[in-house]
Symmetry: none
Subunit: 122 residues, 4 copies
DNA sequence: GTGGTCTAGACCACC
DNA sequence: GTGGTCTAGACCACT
């Protein structure tokens, strides 16, 4: 039962998420060059192998490509970004809805509370 | 920079949250007796001291009281449930909004996406 | 009935009191750094966890703050000293009055005896 | 240094104090019979030997006398009681003054605070 | 080096 | 049986 604690994702996946967010926030421009594995390893404070694995995963997801001798580049795929944004949004919403349900909030309440919060925030 | 990884809350606080949710879901009735420290420790798969600390925190928050030699009891405070529900809702909303902002969603989008999701869910 | 014996406060609370007195006596300056948990543990001859608990209690009372990796510091709150002094004085007076009542002293006697004692003391 | 903690008096002396207070409060009348050693041991939840020692101490202090085959009796010594009352009062006052000094209160303050407290108490 | 958390195991007071 | 306290020793995150 104690297995639920410490439920953090593998570090390389957390890095994948972080990089995707950087791209969505346009801190990493489409078509632009990513930091080298070694650079990124220092910046993130992890082992270069961990970064390598994150980059490989991003390549598998068709988010970046590696060009031998040049480095790793973000693909210029606009649709992809939209898809990523949508899927992350969905994840966040699911998380929100699931937790609100747990404490007994109705759909109406979920929406009205959110609206109220955002208005206060302006 | 590696600091953000493994950023899970302390176990005793996770247990506090879980117990609060149990109370909100009325799995733990107001005025009712909590499992003993030792029982809960076995159920949760953690050390009794960790449960003890969680219970102490709940007592500090005026959610439970301990009666020497008898056990730990949920207070029978009617406002309590509402207060807890509100504060947890706020926490969930803040979490949702912050993450949505990170990937560049506008306030309008946060609301409309949520609505759309909830309708699909019916 | 044997319950009243050995009725000493928990060690960590005794340490809390002692530290508060040190602050009131300005042996611990406002804003100054407290001895580290380990140092204090050796000085007091108790387990570091016991000091940790005392420091946590002091933090809960808004008397000190901890800065990760730096240490524990006394807050620089000018009102703090007055508040602490008042609450401790009240505690001492209550203790005095309660004991005097137990042996049948009147309010008048409590005051006159005290005055007499203080004059002898000059 | 840890020796200062657990600084409680021996149990038999605590019992001596308690009995003296009972006499001062006239719960035990002058000249009256004390409970038997065995009775008192049960009432106090301690070993009869501990009570025996307390009674012996009280006899040494000329507060009680034992009459073979009859039991233990409080002496009818009015002066003694006054002396006891005085010495206990002195102890309480010393304790109060010493603690107030520790946190930097002046003699004037010790008196005025006490007066104020007693008035609120009426 | 700092404090924060967790475990294991002990003893105590109270019911 | 209950919770409350304390110790010893470990590992972690942060500076």
């Amino acid at each position: 039962m104690s297995s639920e604690f410490q439920s953090s994702q593998p570090i390389y996946m957390q890095i994948v998420d972080r990089i995707i967010i950087d791209i969505l926030q346009e801190k990493q421009s489409l078509g632009g060059k990513m930091p080298s594995v070694r650079e990124m390893a220092i910046k993130m404070g992890v082992n270069p192998n961990t970064i390598q694995r994150a980059y490989s995963e991003l390549e598998r997801m068709d988010i970046v490509e590696t060009r031998r001798g040049q480095g790793t580049f973000v693909l210029e795929n606009d649709d992809l970004l939209d898809q990523l944004r949508d899927s992350m949004q969905k994840e966040f919403i699911e998380n929100y809805v699931q937790k609100m349900k747990e404490i007994g909030a109705s759909n109406q309440q979920m929406i009205s509370q959110l609206k109220r919060y955002l208005k206060e925030d302006e």
